[in-house]
Structures are given as structure tokens and as C-alpha cells.
Symmetry: C2
Subunit: 482 residues, 2 copies
């Protein structure tokens, strides 16, 4: 440990970093401040991407739950890289890990899919496989993008469907048709409000905002309605159960009336981009039963939800013992992207699922350390506890303030306001108070802290929630709930 | 430099690495050897990916042009991660760079698209923009996968087409249609033999092997024939010119008879996966003129060809001054993936092209060092010279051995045999002699060394080429050319 301390101190001396978390956020400018505005103007000269940047981060100075921007503002981060940051900023164990000497060879050159490192099989087996959801004992790792994970899940579902349908190797005629772009007439069923990425097939299954779909070709694939759940669930149980049953009946109707076979159904345990909608476990089990009844695979998209912030490593664990997905897609918090799948789904031929960079050992080394910290510090339990505290406190604010529809698992939470204007004003107000929060759907807020968010951070957050609400109300926003 | 030497020596002492390149390959087992076979068996238990692995690499021991496998075989690498490895293995400058202290913060946590590092705009401007092809003064960086670069190029072309066609913002009706998966009827034109990746839209534009297309839905997009060029080009000029004109006429016919508008044409300067086919600059300029005449963008896929191994940084520079692509897609040797594009193509709205990891600073730091080494060591010039030497020598072997159709730019070369059996036997024989070569198309060989391949390596390679051919011939393969 002496060596570790020395290395971390070296890192801190080299970089004028905060030595430990501050006691509270501290804002010295608005966002963007003068330096931030200058960087945005610079980047706008040569890239469209500047428009999606919230602020520029001084990664050397950021620490724990606090992100420090280019203008020196110290911000409590409850959005955390769109739910991708597992242990906050510059976690000492993560920094220590970078000095382990294991990274150098993978930094000096990338590993390639055709000639992987001698430790790659062991790394995949020891780091990734212990995370496999029940029965999904095979794994593939791809290029690091959740959209690609979903797309590979579709390809796996199509290949499996055709294998069963043909019952034989493809004929010369099948091959000729494929080479002439006469594709198989197969589809993936998705749900209103779902978000599965920006690739062409993924945006076909995405039903959140027009920006992801407008002006682009799409595949003619079916979608089904998602239940309109009223919160709290148990106080609206009869409405909710009826709603879930109605939607399950719709799913069955889509299967029965489908003009093209449905090879897979894709669903998120919480529709994160689509407004953190979720239903009861019964609904998901119902979807699963219908998928299996009609010969389709159940693909669970855990790109946003996987990795522990729901209080379980996989969000679909909340569905209970009957949960039986065929494929689980992952990315973000897991550092690498890919699929866990049932072994019988393995494509018959090599190169059916392939790219030249199947997995990045650097990110697997990170994941190994993240898991260690999660275990040692009991972070799933902490996340569950802090989440409960947040949820109760947010619900307690509901009668007094225009907050409603508090929902979610663990710290993977959301709440709504009565209008998009309210939500936007609130995001701005919270940032003024030094809290980075993200919009959710059209008029909600996502709570997405990393796994090291403790009760003291939750208290700081809740204090600022109430302060921000009072600020907005004092400016004359209408209190009446929609 | 004393510090640098100390660091590199530390690396070498920590890792039982070869201190410098050996004088020649050295094989002690067949491939896979016993340890390699054991690893393959291990990985086969939990992943389909083991089937596409050639051998496992001891990345600590590999050095320069020599890759060392798990069984201790020292192999001259002329395939180099499917053309993705720019400076060979463990280049001293690359290792030195990993000790610079700049990597740590990006290893401890990934940068996110919404909150990039304070140095990100400067890094993109100073490292990437100097590489911009003429007039393509904007750049976006995405998740590291070439297939995604091509897909984003398509999306950019579609968005641009619709912007011009509509001449206004999308109406409520346009948006409703998009949200109901009634996509725009737009297409991308591609060429027989082209390979643009495995995503659904990309495999639609891929026309190499059935494995990438069979059993999958595809978009109903057009393709055009690619000229059947005879080599050497100048000795078959009248055939070749006629062939190119015929194909250009076909391209025009596709445009004229297209049922759905063609928003873009995608083409590789050398069809790498499709058998290293290329045509004369006149053909590409002809395609460019037709694309622009009919209102489509020219998308040049430089995922395999970009980065210097053709003797120019971009392969399309070989087309001369008239070359005027609208979008150039890159990945592989550039360490990051993305697009250079003409500024007027920038999508009107944010999030039209987006994912949560737009670019990886670690890989940009690598690219900076790679460019430095390329400049200091004059590697483009060396690649041109070594390539010429290889090409001349391979052509000189042609009358005596069944090698034909030698083609390519720089060291980005290929040659054919008379049958797939010949090519397969040759790949095996070369590996026995300690040279890693890759298949090309159905019966060819790709030459894809990294940029540090010197005349002495070329000599070693050519010696083994001749030896391997004699070995195969002595086993009774027919000499008669097809």
C-alpha cells in the first residue's frame, strides 16, 4: 500500500487535483463560463459535435461525485456520462490500477480480433462471465458501442430464426438472393418509448424523439404500445394491471397479424431515454411468454440499466425468478459492449458476427477493478439503500411541490414535472446550484449518480432539489399539477 | 532521453520482451501449437469468437515487424491486424508515450460525449484536422468502428438530401411518418465487390461474401458493377479503359432508372476485403462526376486504405487533383473512427449524429505519436519505396511462378493465384516459414505490413515467397495459369 499511496500522491502532485471530495458543490460562474464558451466556439469551427456538449471537464481536477468544469465550477454529478460512469471521477483504486503495468502493451497497440492477447480468453472468462445473467453462458464483446450490441443481437436472432426455418444449410439460391440484396423478410418487435441506438436497424426500433428518425430510411418493423403506468404503482394497481393486460393483448395481436415473421422482441427494463418508463415484472414476463410462444427471442437491452445502479447488477433481475431472456445487450457502465446469450444461439458459422476490434482489453482491466471495488465496498447494497432514501424523500416532496411520478429501482430513478418548461427551468436552476441533472423524456428528470453516491450526497442533492423548486416557484411558475 | 531510455528499459525488464527485432522469423511449432490449441479450446467454451482467431499473441514479447505467438513462434507480420497496426509492435516511441502521464485520467474514466475533456477540442484540431483531405474541413469522431463511420456517412447523406428536397423544416406530418417507421425512400449506391462493414445498412452495401449477408434483412438499395481490370494496367490499357467506360455507363443507368432517389455513392479506393480491386483514377473521377450530376454525395470509404500504407496518407490522393469526395470515412490505422466532411454537410440539428462515446482521447494520443514518428522517420516515402521494390520483385516472379495480377499502391499490395486451393496452400506454407499473410478475395494474398516495413523485411518476405512457391510446386500443384 505504501507504493500505491506514493503513486497516487505522485498523480496528485503532477496534477493539481482535489485531494478529496469537497463538502459541497461550488459554482463560480454560470455554465458555460467564459472559458467554456471559448472552447465551444473553438470546437464549433470544425465539428457538429459541439452542440451536444454540456460543459468541458477538467478530468484531472474532478474527484468522486464531483466534476470540475473548465471554469473551475465544482459540480455534484447525478447524470454521470449518461449513466456510464460507475465509480465517479478519479477513484483512487482506478488510478492505482493504471500504474499496474498491465495497460502499457494495450496502449502501445490495440489488440486485434484475429490475433488477440494470450490473456484474452482468461480475461473474458474471469472478468465478464461471472456477470452472466442466468443461463446466458456465452458472451461476445464488440467495439464499445451499445447500438452495435443491439444490432448484433438482431443479427443473432435473424440467423437463429433462419436456421430453424430452413432446417438446412442455405442453398445456392438462398445465397444468390442474399447477394442481390433480396433480404429475408424478418423483423424485430419493439415498444413505443423504447430507445435502442442510432444505427439504421436500431433507430427503426427506437420510438422516442423525431431527431433519431427524421429524414432517414427505416425498416418496416412492427411496434407495440407500452403500458401507461400511474405512480405510485400500488396505489393505482387496478388501472396499471388493466393497462398491462391491454398492452400484452396488443403484443399478441401484433404477433398474430404480422405480415413478416418476428424473430425477436427487444425491450429495456427501464426505458431510459424514453422517459424512464417501466411496468411491473408481470408485464415483462408476459412479453417473454408471448415471444417464446410465437418463436421469437427475448432481447433485453441493458445498455443503460446494466452495471448495478438499479441495486442489482442487471435490472431484469427485478423481474424475479421467472425472468428468462435469450440475449442481454450491454455497454456503458460495463466499459465494454457486447452480448450475453444462450449457448444454443451461437451462429453456425464464423464471421456471422465479427468486426476487427472485438473487445478492448484496456476496458476489461477497468471492469475488473470496478467489480472489485463494488464487491469490497458493497456498492449494490449501498445503491439500494441510497435509492430508497432518495425515492422516499422525493415522494415526500410531492404534495408540497409539483414533483410527481417518482419511479425507478435503486438510484436509477426519475420524476416528472407538469410541463417541459418546468423540467427545463429546473435543470438550469439545479446547475446554478452546482448539481448536474439530466432531462428524462419530455418533462422529467433522470437521477443517475454513480455507485459511490452515499447518503450524504443524497442529502446534498435533496436540499438543492427543494431550494431549486422554491426558486422556480418564487419566479411565478404555476403550482397547479397537470 | 535519459528518462525515456530508463522507462523503456524498465518496461523491457518488467516484461521479458525481445530487446530488438530478430534477424529473421523463427518457428518452433506449427500454428496453433500446443498452448495455442489449449487457449482456443478454452475460449470455445464461452464464445463464438474463437473461430476467427488465427493465433494468440504475446504482446509483451512482440517487437517491430515481428509478432510472437503464445507458443514462442516469432513471425514476420505482413497482415498487421487487418491493416490496422501502423508502427508494428511495441514501438519504443509508443511505449515511451504511455509513460507520459497523459493517459491516466482517460484510463481512470472514459470521456463522455456530453462532458468532454478540456483538451478535447485542441486534440481534435491539432491531431486530426491536419489530416483532413482537401476541402473536408470538419470532422466527427465516433465509437471506434469503421462500420459505424460508414453508417454515419449514410445518415449524413440522407439528412442532406432531405434538407435540399424539403427546402424547409420537417412538417408535423413528416415527423409523424418517421415516428411510425415510414422511412424516407432513399438509397446508397455501392459496387460489386465492395465491403463496408457488418451493420444492417453496411452489409446492404457489402458485396463480397455470403457470410456477411445470408439470413438477414437487407435494404433494397442498388449496386453497380465494378470494372474487371487486367494487370499490369498499362499492358491491357484498351481492355481496361473499355471496361471502365462500360461500368460508368452502368452507373449512369442505375441513376437514371433508380426507383428511389440515390443520396450517396460509397466506394473504396481499393476494395480490400473484396480482393484488392481498383481501377484507374479516371474511373473514380467518373463516378464522382456522375454522383454530383445526379445530386448524390461521394462517400470514400478509407477505413482500410487510410493512414499511409498506400504511400499517401489517403489512398484517394492517388486520383490526383480532381479528386473531390464529399465525405471520407476512417478507422483502423487512425486509431479513432469517424468522418471528414465538407462543412455544408453539417446536419442542421444536434443529435442527428450522436452517441455517448464520441471519440476516445487515449486513441487520439496514440495517433499524435504515430504521426510524429511517420514524419520524423519519413515513413510515407519509405512505404512508397519498399512498395515499389515489392511490386517489381513480385512481378519478376510472375513468369516463373503461378503469381499473377500484382496490384496496389505503396505496400498496400495484392497478388493472385490460379485457384482458392493454391492461395490457401500458400497461406499455410508461408506461416510454416514464419510469415503471417492474409487471404484476399477468393484466390489472392494481401500484403499489409505496417509502416515500419523496411527493404530488409521486404527481402526476407520475398525470399520466403519463393521458397513457399517451390515447396508447393514440389508437392505437385499444377503450374498452369488459369
Amino acid at each position: 500500500m505504501k507504493f500505491a499511496t506514493r503513486l497516487i500522491n505522485k498523480f496528485k502532485v503532477n496534477n493539481p487535483v482535489l485531494l478529496e471530495e469537497p463538502s459541497a458543490p461550488l459554482m463560480s460562474t454560470s455554465i458555460p463560463g467564459p472559458k467554456g464558451a471559448e472552447l465551444l466556439a473553438k470546437q464549433s469551427q470544425f465539428s457538429q459535435d459541439y452542440r451536444t456538449i454540456k460543459f468541458y471537464v477538467d478530468y484531472n481536477k474532478s474527484i468522486g461525485n464531483y466534476v470540475v468544469d473548465v471554469d473551475g465550477n465544482i459540480i455534484l454529478d447525478t447524470y454521470c456520462h449518461i449513466a456510464s460512469l460507475p465509480l465517479g471521477y478519479n477513484h483512487p483504486d482506478m488510478i492505482y490500477n493504471t500504474y499496474s503495468g498491465e495497460y502499457q502493451k494495450f496502449l502501445a497497440q490495440r489488440q486485434s480480433a484475429d490475433v488477440p492477447d494470450i490473456h484474452w480468453p482468461r480475461m473474458v472468462r474471469d472478468i465478464l462471465l461471472p456477470l452472466a445473467p442466468k443461463n446466458l453462458n456465452e458472451v461476445i464483446v464488440n467495439c464499445g458501442c451499445g447500438s452495435n450490441s443491439n444490432e448484433e443481437a438482431f443479427k443473432m436472432a435473424f440467423a437463429y430464426y433462419m436456421k430453424n426455418k430452413r432446417g438446412r444449410e442455405p442453398s445456392d439460391q438462398d445465397i444468390e438472393k442474399a447477394m442481390n440484396n433480396q433480404g429475408e423478410e424478418l423483423t424485430i418487435l419493439s415498444f413505443t418509448g423504447g430507445f435502442h441506438g442510432g444505427n439504421m436497424s436500431c433507430q427503426t426500433t427506437t420510438h422516442t424523439k423525431p431527431i433519431y428518425k427524421i429524414g432517414q430510411p427505416k425498416l418496416d418493423w412492427p411496434k407495440a404500445p407500452f403500458p401507461d403506468i400511474k405512480r405510485p404503482y400500488h396505489l393505482n394497481e387496478s388501472h396499471n394491471i388493466k393497462e398491462e393486460q391491454k398492452c400484452l393483448a396488443e403484443v399478441e395481436k401484433v404477433f398474430k397479424s404480422a405480415k413478416k415473421p418476428i424473430a425477436g422482441v427487444i425491450i429495456e427494463p427501464v426505458m431510459a431515454e424514453g422517459g424512464d418508463k417501466s411496468a411491473s415484472p408481470n408485464f415483462y414476463i408476459g412479453v417473454q411468454e408471448l415471444a417464446h410462444k410465437y418463436g421469437a427471442l427475448l432481447i433485453v437491452d441493458e445498455v443503460q440499466t446494466g452495471g448495478g445502479s438499479t441495486g442489482r447488477f442487471w435490472a431484469h433481475e427485478h423481474w424475479g425468478e421467472r425472468a428468462d431472456p435469450d440475449i442481454v445487450a450491454f455497454a456503458k457502465k460495463l466499459q465494454v459492449s457486447g452480448l450475453f446469450y444462450k449457448p444454443h444461439l451461437r451462429p453456425a458459422r464464423a464471421y456471422a458476427l465479427y468486426n476487427s476490434t472485438r473487445g478492448d482489453p484496456i476496458r476489461l482491466l477497468n471492469l475488473r477493478k470496478i467489480r472489485e471495488v463494488m464487491d469490497n465496498d458493497n456498492l449494490l447494497r449501498q445503491t439500494e439503500r441510497v435509492g430508497m432514501m432518495l425515492k422516499n424523500s422525493l415522494n415526500a416532496l410531492s404534495p408540497k411541490y409539483p414533483i410527481n411520478n417518482v419511479r425507478g429501482y435503486g438510484t436509477f430513478l426519475a420524476y416528472d414535472f407538469e410541463s417541459p418548461e418546468w423540467a427545463n427551468a429546473y435543470v438550469r436552476e439545479m446547475l446554478k446550484l452546482g448539481v448536474n441533472v439530466g432531462l428524462c423524456g419530455s418533462q422529467g428528470i433522470r437521477v443517475r449518480p454513480s455507485l459511490i453516491f452515499k447518503p450524504k450526497h443524497a442529502e446534498l442533492y435533496l436540499d438543492r432539489v427543494e431550494f431549486a423548486l422554491n426558486q422556480i416557484l418564487s419566479k411565478g411558475f404555476n403550482l397547479a399539477k397537470a
